[in-house]
């Protein structure tokens, strides 16, 4: 057995050229083959790629989908985002855990099935959802959960769980998924017809410099959330000293409540790859990498087939469309369950076979990114826009949207509304219009841009979706008036605590302390000074953290505090001298009471 492990692990490493920068792929392949990356396997990998066991361990323990301890043949990951809670996560989890006879995080005694949970898997419009190995199941109910377990027990083949396939390319033979696109509004940039090669052909008639100028004139800003001008980023990379350059597509889509890239990856695959090739031509790069989040693994065969097809048709590979010397190839790098890998420098670390820890800046990726080479990282949607801009022209694109944020935005709307799904809308649309479009009623709160952006109350529903007002990478979460804003904030603090890379103190420790403070108020033990403390701590974390995760994580708390007015009365009060309200003597003695079988005299 040990010999077999060494042999197969060695072969896997060899397949990836014994290259330590491909450690992600190696570890994932080993995990797939053996159900875990055991200490023995880590030793083997370290030996083969000439690294150290502790470096391999560092990688394996960082990612949610990799594991040192054996996992079941089938791993069920129930999505535990707040939207799933609202749609019945708890009862589904309970039903499945009873049916399996194990609790959350455990494996059945026969080693067949592991039941665990995952942060948002990008299916918030069809929640509650789960990943069964890489197969997505949606719209779960307790009954369907139980049935799913019974079926799995019989065949242990997740693919057989798919009895009905979704719309669009979800029924492509290489996808065959029950996921639905739920495209509710088709706009001109992404959901109009696109003739493969048309944008690329136009680009190749221009000089690389002029392609960059075209992008600058379109005033395209990054769609991943930060809104950095794409043309400027490209220019920096094109001008940076260095030989090899890289174009990376950020398909990590981890922001809770975001699922628009999933739909673009399914329906606009060609347009995306075309945008990458155009970017490659513009900045002088011959290699593209799509960093695909592990949760979207089910799209991998399809993506690879589109890459193949485009190679065949001369849209990728050597001498693209007959342009001598222009070469561009694309590979897909799978992620393995880490939200932080959406942050561009963490993403680059991950592509390099490292834990997804953000890098110190400067240098910025366009100067020195992947393997130290100038690198542009762009969101899926940004790159899709690029193809359309080259086809239709910068002026056409800039004529849409609001003055400082041009074009359209693909939004993923979910939560307390009747029509969750994907909407391509012009920038400048108001939050209120989104509420109406998605047929939400009684809306109390919205998370614009997901938890990392802002929580707004009704007084700001007139605000507009654009980078000067309500900025969003695509997530729109709607909550009705009955939802407790502080509980929403606490839920997302848990998310950020789980997903923090742990490198810097303000984020690693500060978030835990902030969560304790929020919890204290939710429990009814808060004092007015606690609200001020929560605000101070939030600002501290935002200002002192090293990367965008820590700098954004307290936003839901600040948002909740801002629209807190109506709630605060019930939660916080001045206290009389004596025991602090958060000190619960009866809880503190319960262990002892049980041990000695008598009651405390003073509780």
């Amino acid at each position: 057995m040990k010999r077999a492990l060494a042999k197969i692990t060695g072969e896997i490493c060899k397949k990836f050229g014994n290259d330590p920068t491909r450690m992600m792929d190696i570890a994932m392949a080993v995990q797939e083959r053996f159900g875990c990356v055991s200490p023995e396997a880590m030793d083997e990998i370290a030996r083969a790629v000439n690294s150290h066991r502790v470096e391999v361990e560092s990688l394996v323990t960082f990612y949610g989908f990799l594991s040192v301890k054996p996992q079941g043949k089938v791993v069920i990951r129930l999505c535990r985002d707040i939207i799933d809670w609202m749609k019945g996560y708890e009862s589904v989890a309970d039903a499945m855990s009873r049916e399996l006879g194990v609790s959350m995080g455990e494996t059945t005694p026969d080693g067949a099935i592991t039941l665990t949970h995952a942060p948002c898997i990008g299916m918030s419009d069809q929640a509650p959802a789960a990943l069964v190995n890489e197969v997505v199941v949606t719209h779960l109910t307790p009954e369907r959960g139980r049935q799913l377990v019974r079926d799995l027990r019989r065949h242990l083949d997740p693919q057989q769980l798919v009895t009905m396939v979704g719309d669009g390319n979800n029924d492509h033979p290489l996808v065959r998924s029950m996921v639905r696109n739920n495209i509710r509004m088709r706009g001109p940039v992404h959901f109009a017809d696109f003739e493969p090669g048309s944008g690329l052909r136009r680009a190749l008639t221009l000089k690389p410099m002029d392609v960059i100028r075209e992008i600058k004139e379109s005033r395209l800003r990054g769609r991943g959330g930060a809104g950095f001008p794409a043309g400027l980023k490209w220019e920096m990379a094109a001008n940076a000293p260095g030989g090899k350059r890289y174009v990376i597509c950020n398909a990590d889509e981890g922001e809770p409540g975001t699922f628009k890239d999933r739909v673009l990856l399914t329906e606009c695959t060609g347009q995306l790859l075309e945008g990458m090739a155009i970017a490659g031509y513009a900045v002088g790069s011959d290699t593209g990498i799509i960093y695909l989040r592990g949760e979207y693994r089910y799209l991998l065969p399809y993506l690879e087939s589109v890459i193949e097809e485009r190679l065949r048709r001369g849209f990728l590979g050597r001498d693209i469309l007959g342009k001598k010397g222009f070469r561009f190839d694309v590979r897909v790098q799978m992620g393995a369950g880490a939200y932080i890998c959406g942050e561009e420098t963490a993403l680059i670390s991950s592509c390099e076979g490292l834990p997804g820890v953000p890098k110190n800046r400067p240098p910025f990726p366009p100067q020195q990114g992947y393997l130290g080479c100038p690198t542009i990282v762009n969101n899926v949607e940004t790159l899709c826009c690029v193809s359309r801009i080259l086809l239709e022209g910068a002026a056409w694109f800039a004529s849409m949207g609001s003055p400082r944020t041009t074009g359209t935005k693909v939004l993923s709307i979910c939560g307390d509304c009747r029509k969750p799904g994907v909407y391509e809308v012009p920038f400048g649309i108001s939050a209120r219009e989104l509420i109406e479009m998605s047929e939400a009623e009684n809306t109390g709160t919205m998370l614009i841009g997901g938890p990392c952006r802002q929580m707004i109350g009704s007084e700001r529903f007139g605000g507009r979706i654009c980078y000067d007002d309500l900025a969003t990478g695509g997530a729109i979460l709607i909550f009705n008036r009955a939802r407790n804003k502080l509980e929403i904030a606490e839920h997302y603090l848990d998310f950020f605590i789980e997903e923090s890379c742990g490198h810097c103190t303000p984020c690693r420790v500060g978030l835990i302390l902030l969560k304790k403070a929020v919890h204290k108020v939710i429990e009814g033990a808060g004092e007015p000074s606690d609200l001020a403390e929560m605000r101070d701590l939030s600002n501290f974390i935002i200002r002192m953290s090293r990367c965008g995760l820590g700098q954004a994580a307290p936003n839901p708390v600040l948002g909740a505090l801002e629209i807190f007015g109506d709630l605060s009365a019930g939660f916080v009060a001045e206290r009389k001298p004596g025991l602090l309200p958060e000190f619960d003597l009866s809880k503190a003695v319960i262990d002892a009471e049980m041990r000695v079988g008598r009651q405390s005299k003073i509780v």
Binding site: L579, L580, V603
Partner: protein, 182 residues
């Protein structure tokens, strides 16, 4: 002459080291006695308060329900409460059990540790023994504390400085060389 401010002291889950340091004030303890009237304190062996106090000095954290009870009483009887020493402030040695389940602690202490002779395997459980809390709580996690004098024990000078400035109504930050955690 106005009545002297009253001061009370107590040792909860501590080793009396902080009280020793208090006695270490040497001749200044007499000066202190001129400034204040000692109320409930192990120094004079008063078991309960005789009057409301200006200052309460607490050594040690809360390890048992009785500690909590006493601390609550101190909070109610004293205008200002001072946590003195590491045990009161951050738990100190007694807090080393904080991440070990109570059961394991008791078994280790009464049954398993080397040198224990306990043929009956009995863990003491007299109704007079106060119940242990599941972990040790620093004082400020149980009641509000107004001033902290760290150290294990705090140097006598640090105690002197802090009490004098407190009684003068202008609590001051400790001098650099008097601030110690050991």
């Amino acid at each position: 002459m106005a009545a002297k401010p009253r001061i009370a002291t107590v040792s909860l889950a501590g080793c009396f080291g902080c009280h020793m340091s208090l006695l270490d004030l040497d001749e200044r303890i007499l000066k202190l006695a001129e400034l204040v009237e000692f109320d409930r304190s192990p120094i004079n062996d008063y078991k309960d308060f005789r009057a409301r106090c200006a200052v309460g000095v607490v050594e040690g954290g809360c390890c048992t329900e009785e500690n909590v009870h006493v601390l609550e009483r101190f909070r109610k009887q004293c205008d200002l409460l001072v946590s003195i020493g590491e045990c009161a402030i951050s738990g100190g040695i007694p807090a080393m059990r904080n991440n070990i389940p109570l059961r394991e602690c008791l078994e280790e202490a009464y049954l398993k540790s080397p040198g224990v002779y306990n043929p009956g395997g009995v863990i003491p459980n007299d109704p007079e023994i106060p119940l242990l809390l599941h972990r040790l709580y620093p004082c400020h996690e149980v009641v509000k504390i107004d001033l902290f004098i760290p150290g294990c024990p705090p140097p006598a000078d640090a105690i002197w400085d802090a009490l004098v400035s407190l009684l003068a109504g202008r609590p001051a930050a400790p001098a650099y060389d008097r601030l110690k955690y050991d």
